[in-house]
């Protein structure tokens, strides 16, 4: 399968690989997917007192498209407010990386991961 240059670049040089302390109040964690399905994404956001995402990290078990999708969204969410980050669409991810049709689910998972991380942060702070 031929992958786009952008996708291969994110696979070869993934951005923001790593973890924050899950227990930290300023951190929201999203863990989505399942090992049996071949993809698990962990996406974490670190939110400033002003409510902006100042940093993001990910770890992904999955194919090259899944790794690239999660790497890309960690770049996209940085500097955004929670509401802005929540508007990132899987179709934008798929388009940016030129994902082949059989890999669209990877972008869906990345969108789910952001939403889950935001929800986790909000739950910690009594918002919904």
């Amino acid at each position: 399968m031929a992958y786009s240059e952008k996708l291969v670049d994110h696979y070869e040089n993934p951005r923001n690989v790593g973890s924050f302390d899950k227990g930290d109040d300023s951190v929201g964690t999203g863990l989505v997917g399942a090992p049996a399905c071949g993809d698990v994404m962990k996406l974490q956001i670190k939110v400033s007192p002003e409510g902006l995402i100042e940093d993001a990290k990910f770890k992904t078990f999955g194919c090259g498209s899944a790794i690239a999708s999660s790497s890309l969204v960690t770049e996209w969410v940085k500097g955004k407010s929670l509401d802005e980050a929540a508007t990132i669409k899987n179709t934008d991810i798929a388009q940016h990386l030129a994902l082949p049709p059989v890999k669209i689910h990877c972008s869906v998972l990345a969108e789910d991961a952001i939403k889950a991380a935001i929800a986790d942060y909000k739950a910690k702070h009594g918002q919904s």
Partner: protein, 419 residues
């Protein structure tokens, strides 16, 4: 942190390594240059039809074909008159299994084979099932070998043929051929063995091992593609129904004009194998151990598929836990290897051989077959080991599953979402 090792590999100067490194010797082997030299005259000046009886063009070609037949026979301790040239092991397997089954169908109508056989054996057996034969597909143990007691229970006095491969193409394990032959013969059944991956790798003796029919392939032993052979025992005589009708060449068992160049090629390949097999096995064993030891020293949770000791030295089928198969394949483009899973467009389908061994689905997805052979060098082995170590480390560094395992979390205890 995440990107480390693989970059170092790329940056180092590595003389004499041609990328990608060919590590797929079970799929096919390069032609040995000595084999090509022997073949060339029969593509050009010596173009005769070996079946022409009235002039020297034909006689020369025939002489070359018969000399080649003798070389093939010698390698397995057979008589040259017991060697039938075919187009490859696929055809040999078809001719042996269909030929023997159909010849004896009025007396015996059962066949016993194994789930891990090559597709061309399994598909031939499926075909015979449609023709009314009853086929038993024996399971294998976790090490890839059959249980001889199960075989004994499966063979009856209605069994016409037992077909078990000597060496498995995916995992390299060696079945106990002589014992299997004995069990078949106790019930009066014939014994066929697909030796495409065994010939030239392990010593084979049709007499001592009790083999009635043996399939051989040219391109797995540094010979040309498009030729193979079938050994057919003469004493006591094994009779087959021909699958190709025509001019009656090859003792009526396989009509069609032989290609002298290809025959010379497989003959020369067998000659070289006979002379060099013992030394080559020692060298390959050292290379395989070097590779395996390097990988095991740097990577935990690597699993060897198939028996540890009952195996040919040129094959290592390894599974790498906590990384995903497709991302691993994507990261080792410098290595021409075969992945245990056939990567279809939408999903990874784990190999039926690994499934038969009971390898877990997730591990089967990350299994890679490393095949070493005559032209594999130590430098290539080292590069390959560093490549796989670098990529697996990098992917694990990136894997949330690996992180959980390091934190002592049992992944199976987590309630994962369905999707």
């Amino acid at each position: 942190m995440a990107d480390g090792n693989s970059d170092q590999i790329g940056g180092e100067v590595r003389p004499n390594i041609q990328l990608p490194i060919y590590l797929d010797y079970q799929a096919t082997t390069p032609l040995d240059p000595r084999v090509l030299d022997a073949m060339m005259p029969y593509f050009t000046g010596k173009f005769g039809n070996p079946h022409s009886r009235s002039h020297s063009y034909g006689w020369d070609a025939e002489e070359a074909v018969e000399a080649a037949r003798e070389q093939v026979a010698k390698l397995i301790n057979a008589d040259p008159r017991e060697i039938i040239f075919t187009s490859g092991a696929t055809e040999s397997n078809n001719l042996a299994i269909k030929g023997a089954a159909l010849f004896n169908k009025d007396r015996r109508n059962e066949i016993v084979t194994v789930v891990t056989e090559h597709k061309c054996v399994l598909d031939t057996c499926r075909h015979l099932e449609q023709e009314g034969f009853k086929v038993t597909y024996l399971p294998v143990k976790q090490n890839g070998l059959i249980d001889l007691d199960e075989l004994r229970a499966a063979v009856t006095d209605k069994t016409v043929l037992v077909s078990v491969m000597a060496v498995n193409n995916e995992i390299g394990v060696i079945q106990p051929i002589a014992e299997i032959a004995k069990i078949a013969h106790e019930k009066g059944a014939l014994f066929h063995t697909d030796c495409a991956q065994a010939v030239g790798k392990i010593p084979l003796d049709v007499g001592a091992m009790g083999i009635d029919l043996m399939s051989i392939s040219g391109h797995k032993i540094y010979g040309p593609k498009g030729i193979g052979a079938l050994y057919v025992r003469r004493k006591p005589r094994v009779r087959l129904v021909a699958q190709m009708n025509g001019g009656g060449q090859e003792r009526g068992m396989r009509s069609g004009t032989l290609s002298p160049a290809l025959c010379v090629g497989i003959g020369e390949a067998c000659r070289i194998a006979r002379e060099e097999m013992a030394a080559e096995a020692v060298r390959l064993d050292a290379l395989a151990h070097r590779f395996y030891d390097k990988v095991k020293a740097k990577l935990p949770d690597v699993f060897l598929n198939g028996d540890e000791t009952q195996r040919i030295p040129g094959n290592l089928n390894l599974s790498f836990a906590y990384v995903e198969g497709e991302s691993l394949i994507m990261g080792i483009k410098d290595l021409a290897v075969s992945s245990g899973s056939a990567c279809t467009s939408a999903s990874l389908e784990p190999s039926y051989v690994l499934r038969a061994l009971g390898v877990e689905e997730e591990l089967a997805h990350t299994s890679i077959r490393f095949g070493f052979g005559r032209f594999t060098t130590e430098a290539e082995i080292d590069y390959a080991a560093e490549t796989i170590i670098g990529r697996v480390s990098k992917l694990r560094e990136m894997s949330p599953l690996w992180e959980m395992v390091q934190e002592g979390i049992d992944i199976k205890s987590i309630q994962w979402a369905d999707h």
